[in-house]
Symmetry: C2
């Protein structure tokens, strides 16, 4: 058994579940004999390079703290977007040497990196650089992303909570927009640059309570303004209040983003790309072309940090995948990413396995054709069946003075 200490870091965009995975890694590390001390690196690899670390055995050692940590949004250790140089690039060697010095100084034999594609890239490169050297250690990646677009896993930790927030907010928006009798169109913009998983979740209220956005557009389908006007007009014939869910990543046939579009007369006042957003663009297009009341709502970063409306299924799985990463590493695995394999939809069951990062990295997993209705603006039953188990359950939140209580890792011993 490889004995020593471990370090865990977080990287990439925040989610409501990334701290649940951190809690899982801490719990896993405290459970195994192979690991003495579990250190936390502030701001991921940045903190390992700067020596900004903390001792997590002390900071998060009891159930109450670990439970609060699991219900705290964003990255408790801070995050980074640092990419490591290619391992075979001589000029990049100093960065790796510095990391190695850090590992030696603290006798780090296990490194767990919780993050998105960039983090998996770091795991792959570090594994390659260490290979054949004299410092034996295990490096494991634990995925997180609300976008759910990572290959090799049924879904990603963090997605279920974001999907639950989106579905619940959509349900509330549908109630809100239904109160007037005047014709109006509401566009709701949802995150997802390349894949429409999150936007698909906006369709969930239809199955659960019978109210649903009228139209759902994913980036997996080329967006066409004429079809859009036609779809919206048809919906307005059926009811006065039309609600449309759109992915931020919608693109036109020429590959440009809808948010950059200047094709519609109503949106050609945008002089700068940063002014536009997909929802705002489509809202103004509707107003200009159809002449009805219009509004757009951008769920923005709220959808990735709303711990107060997290999915218990997601949080429990996020803890479990962190613990599983520790067990896999102690059992000798390295350079791997932990993945979910769904073994059953009903009852919903998943296994946690490790996958080879090299085969997983840099591939975007899109919403499959069978989840999108033939008209290109709806989600099929198969899609709903896939999504539904992921938003189930509500964590028991601790409220203090009216607000959910969070766990904060102080930077005192950094």
């Amino acid at each position: 058994m490889l004995k020593g200490n471990a370090v865990v870091g977080q990287s990439g965009g925040p989610t409501a579940a990334i701290n649940a995975t951190l809690a899982g890694v801490i719990r896993g590390a405290l459970e195994v004999d192979a690991i003495d001390t579990i250190y936390g690196a502030f701001n991921g690899v940045e903190g390992m390079l700067d020596g900004r670390i903390c001792n997590l055995n002390e900071l998060a050692s009891d159930e109450v703290q670990l439970s609060l940590l699991a219900n705290t949004p964003a990255a408790a250790l801070g995050s980074c977007r640092k990419k490591l140089p290619a391992p075979d690039d001589e000029s990049g060697a100093p960065v790796y040497e510095k990391l190695l010095a850090f590992f030696r100084k603290y006798n780090i034999r296990y490194f767990f990196y919780i993050g998105g594609n960039d983090s998996m890239d770091t795991v792959a490169k570090l594994t390659a650089w260490l290979d054949g050297g004299d410092w034996e250690m295990r490096v494991m990646g634990v995925p997180k992303t609300i976008d759910n677009d990572v290959a090799g896993t049924d879904h990603t930790p963090g997605f279920g909570s974001a999907a639950k927030y989106i579905a619940a907010s959509m349900q509330e928006i549908l109630r809100d927009t239904a109160v007037y009798t005047v014709k109006a169109v509401t566009i709701v913009e949802i995150m997802g640059r390349d894949a429409g998983w999150l936007t698909a979740a906006a369709a969930l209220p239809g199955r659960i309570c019978g109210i649903s956005p009228d139209l759902v557009y994913l980036p997996e389908r080329v967006f066409n303004f004429d079809k859009f006007y036609s779809d919206v007009s048809a919906a307005l014939e059926r009811k006065p209040n039309v609600v449309v869910a759109v992915s931020e990543g919608l693109r036109l046939a020429d590959g440009s983003y809808v948010g950059e579009s200047t094709q519609s007369g109503a949106v050609d006042v945008f002089g700068h790309r940063y002014l536009s957003g997909t929802g705002k663009t489509l809202e103004l297009a509707v107003g200009g072309k159809l002449g009805v009341k219009h509004r757009s709502v951008e769920l923005n970063i709220l959808q990735r940090c709303a711990s107060h409306l997290a999915s218990k299924t997601d949080l429990d799985e996020s803890v479990a995948v962190g613990r599983a990463a520790v067990r896999a590493a102690v059992n000798g695995e390295s350079g791997k990413m932990m993945c979910f394999v769904r073994t059953s939809d009903s009852p919903y069951e998943v296994d946690i396995v490790s996958g080879d990062i090299a085969e997983i990295a840099n591939r975007i997993r899109c919403v499959p054709d069978e989840f999108i209705t033939p008209d290109g603006c709806g989600i099929t039953d198969a899609g709903i069946e896939y999504l539904l188990p992921l938003i189930q359950g509500e964590p028991e939140l601790v409220y203090e003075n009216g607000l959910p209580k969070h766990f904060e890792i102080k930077r005192t011993n950094s």
Copy 2:
């Protein structure tokens, strides 16, 4: 005792608590001998004019249904923005005659109108028109508005829930934006065209958990771009991630809205008023002037319909004020609005009283000077003491298949 039937309607913008008040009116009506049937008018006065009503004795007669209704956002009966003509305007007489015919047909002796300033205007006008006629009836207004800007009451039903959502979302946004080490400014735009009550609520996390937006700007203070740049720059000296809460209703010295502003070089690409928003304008101004990463988040309609994060204090009070309106009317009052009088901050206690609508209507209640820090960009302890009790408590929500369960009043018998 005036015996007969009652009608209740909802009007104005949705809130998370307007259905709690509806549940209170229904409960109150079922409790008193004076009222046989409580009808619901769909889309407020519109439904009374069109005969679109429902029998609420049947639709919402048990505790389970009334409890679900109280936890359902937006107006279950639908809303309207209809204003009645002046009672002394001859040309408007047909509208009143039509309402009177409706009252006679259904033997309506009690009318409860839940809404904002427009609804109170309707109550005042209808009371005046009925005065001296041969149809005896009682008309009562029950205020609701997330904006909290109604005079004559300590606060308005609906405000506490919106404030809790804003405070909780701000807490999550503060965690989310704190994860990186790169300098960045996040502007959070909060509703409030004339008064800054909702924006002030964004400061609550500072008292509760020690993290707070760095700057808070209310419409009660003239906005000045130079001071803003100076405030933000100073904040960026202290920490990398600066979060600013702003009211949508911020105005410059010339009275124009910041969201329409073309004074800053960074924002002069806006050609149309509908393109701008206060948050977006200030975000782009920060990017242009200070050259740091920037983002804006508009809480939008989510802040008024987020029943999943409602304040139990607000919902309980909203039910209570609906019941109190029924009791007051049965006791002979008419042409009144129900108000809260705070009798103690700690422990928090309120009395419900009726106030004369004529003295209340058309006055905006702004955030008082003693709640705003002298530098104009923060909330004082006194302000926090006022706000804190209003967000306390969490209702017991019923979840079904992952989403909060709502109560829907079907339009079948309309």
